[in-house]
């Protein structure tokens, strides 16, 4: 049975991506941080410290499970073993939310540990929807699907990304995870208006917002090429885009992602506090 209200279970408050080095501080005083997100694949061992810490945290915080390895956008079938592992994790942890990416990462049974892009065509739409149906049936709940960071385009694409995500949501009933930093990165790289993207996005389907830091590079023509690195603070224009989004969507759970060069807890908590301030400005 799909739980239509699943996306409402995370509080419309700041959360952070959980890193084991912050365990002691989080359990002592999490400050502005009201919920935690974990990467599903890091908690698929049989036992030991990772599972014990997660059990402990889940008794104190709402937990969002964020998958990075299912390869929903893959041309091949979903990995049955991996579906079974996700089902097991979701069933014992009973998280507040489960999300995955509009991307692929596995081809020909090799996993590339990155979120790879796909064309937005009728054929890929159909395949993704059938994968999401299969996942939602397997885990017995509704998922959120996240928009990617784009560095390039596919000549064969016939859908815009917001329309594509909206259509997936309409067909499968899945919710959406809106990564505002990804919107900013893609908009810079592909020279479109980030506000225009937000305007076109089905915000009523958004169950969670992501924020993170990015790196700056250049393409072959010297134009800015932003890279979604999750390795630093969220930049001011992305905070401004969050304000723009929240003003239109109303309050939502907002997550700070910081996965590389992970800072000390106070630095991460300060980012969450900034998200709390942004949320306070939004009328409920």
């Amino acid at each position: 049975m799909l739980d239509a209200a699943a996306h409402d279970k995370l509080p419309a408050a700041p959360g952070v991506g959980y890193k084991p080095q912050h365990f002691a501080q989080i359990t002592e005083d999490a400050g502005s941080v009201k919920w935690l997100e974990i990467h599903a694949e890091n908690y698929m061992g049989d036992g030991g410290r990772p599972i014990a810490q997660l059990r402990h945290l889940s008794e104190r915080f709402a937990v969002s499970v964020h998958g990075v390895g299912l390869s929903i956008g893959g041309e091949g079938p979903l990995d049955a073993d991996h579906l079974a592992r996700l089902k097991h994790l979701v069933s014992w942890l009973n998280p507040a939310s489960f999300s995955e990416h509009l991307a692929w990462s596995t081809h020909d049974s090799h996993f590339y540990n990155d979120l790879l892009p796909l064309p937005y065509t009728d054929a890929s739409l159909q395949r993704i929807c059938s994968h999401i149906d299969q996942l939602q049936d397997t885990i017995g709940r509704r998922m959120l699907l996240e928009n990617p960071s784009s560095y390039l385009a596919f000549a064969e694409s016939t859908w815009s990304e917001p329309e594509f995500l909206g259509e997936i949501s309409r067909r499968t009933g899945c919710g959406l995870l809106l990564d505002v930093n990804n919107v900013f990165v893609s908009a810079t790289n592909l020279e479109f208006s980030p506000q225009g993207y937000i305007d076109a996005f089905p915000l009523d389907k958004v169950g969670e917002i992501h924020l993170g830091g990015h790196d700056e590079d250049e393409d072959d023509h010297g134009r800015p090429l932003l890279i979604d690195s999750h390795g630093r603070e969220v930049v001011d224009p992305v905070w401004a885009l969050l304000d723009y989004t929240l003003a239109k969507s109303g309050p939502r759970p907002v997550l700070i992602e910081w996965d590389n060069d992970v800072p000390d807890w106070p630095v991460l908590e300060a980012e969450a506090a900034r998200a709390a301030t942004a949320l306070e400005r939004v009328p409920a």
Binding site: W104, Y112, N113, Y151, L152, A155, N189, L190, D219
Partner: protein
């Protein structure tokens, strides 16, 4: 103009291949450098995964050599599952197969030890028995008892001083390893796996137990390998490591 995922991965894993037609920038020009983001992300993330999986190998070889080996390894053996915690299972044989590393014969077993420590870290939890449960048995009953061992328990046999090498490279002030064969037992009393050197015959005894032999039967096998085998000392290592999770004394 359709770019398949086979086309994409082939070009991503081999920088000598052209960027597939049909990947563009927003002005419909070839993607060029933009595609390199994916080439980079994959190589960097898998190289980092190898560094964190094999810190002792990385230390022995130095960062630059480790980066180079990881770059070759990740193309020969891309991960076969999204569980990155278990990535690198073929690394010991890979190291042993590298002609340039033939003079460093101990690398393979050192990598095996690092793999075993990682498996132990993620192994299922299991509650140990109280040591008194063994003490309560008559000597005859003890010899006929089978032991269930915790899933974290691992035994590694090496012609190299593999424990000494590991310790020397992970522990400040640890002694320099002497050339000798070492058998290593890994237990996980709480959450951190602990590798220890096994006394002579200990590895044979524990492996026999893992294979379902009773204590006495395993003892005969261990004594056949080394007549100085010390049952008490080896049993104590298992008990101290919380490694015995069940007794079966029937028969």
């Amino acid at each position: 103009m359709s770019v398949t995922q086979a086309d994409f991965t082939r070009a991503m894993m081999d920088a000598g291949q052209a960027v597939p037609d049909g990947l563009t920038d927003h002005l419909a020009q070839p993607a060029g450098r933009r595609f390199s983001v994916y080439r980079n992300n994959v190589a960097v993330s898998l190289t980092e995964a190898m560094h964190s999986a094999f810190p002792v190998i990385a230390k022995l070889l130095g960062k630059q050599n480790m980066d180079g080996l990881a770059g070759i390894y990740l193309r020969q053996h891309p991960p076969s599952s999204p569980l990155m915690m278990f990535y690198g299972a073929h690394f010991p044989e890979f190291l042993e197969g590298m002609e340039q590393l033939k003079h460093l014969g101990y690398l393979g077993d050192t990598a095996r030890l690092e793999l075993a420590l990682r498996r132990a870290y993620h192994a299922a939890d299991a509650a140990p028995i109280a040591p008194e449960a063994l003490g309560a048995l008559t000597p005859d009953a003890l010899m006929n008892t089978r032991l269930a061992l915790a899933p974290a328990v691992q035994v590694l046999r090496s012609p190299w001083p593999v424990h000494g090498l590991w310790r020397y490279n992970t522990e400040d002030g640890a002694p320099k390893p002497e050339p000798q064969a070492q058998d290593v037992l890994i237990t996980r009393p709480e959450f951190d796996p602990i590798p220890q050197v096994l006394p002579p015959g200990g590895a044979v005894w524990i492996r026999a137990l893992m294979g379902g032999a009773a204590i006495g039967e395993a003892l005969e096998q261990a004594a056949a390998e080394d007549e100085t085998f010390d049952l008490g000392a080896t049993l104590a290592l298992l008990l101290q490591g919380g490694a015995i999770t069940g007794l079966d004394s029937k028969g």
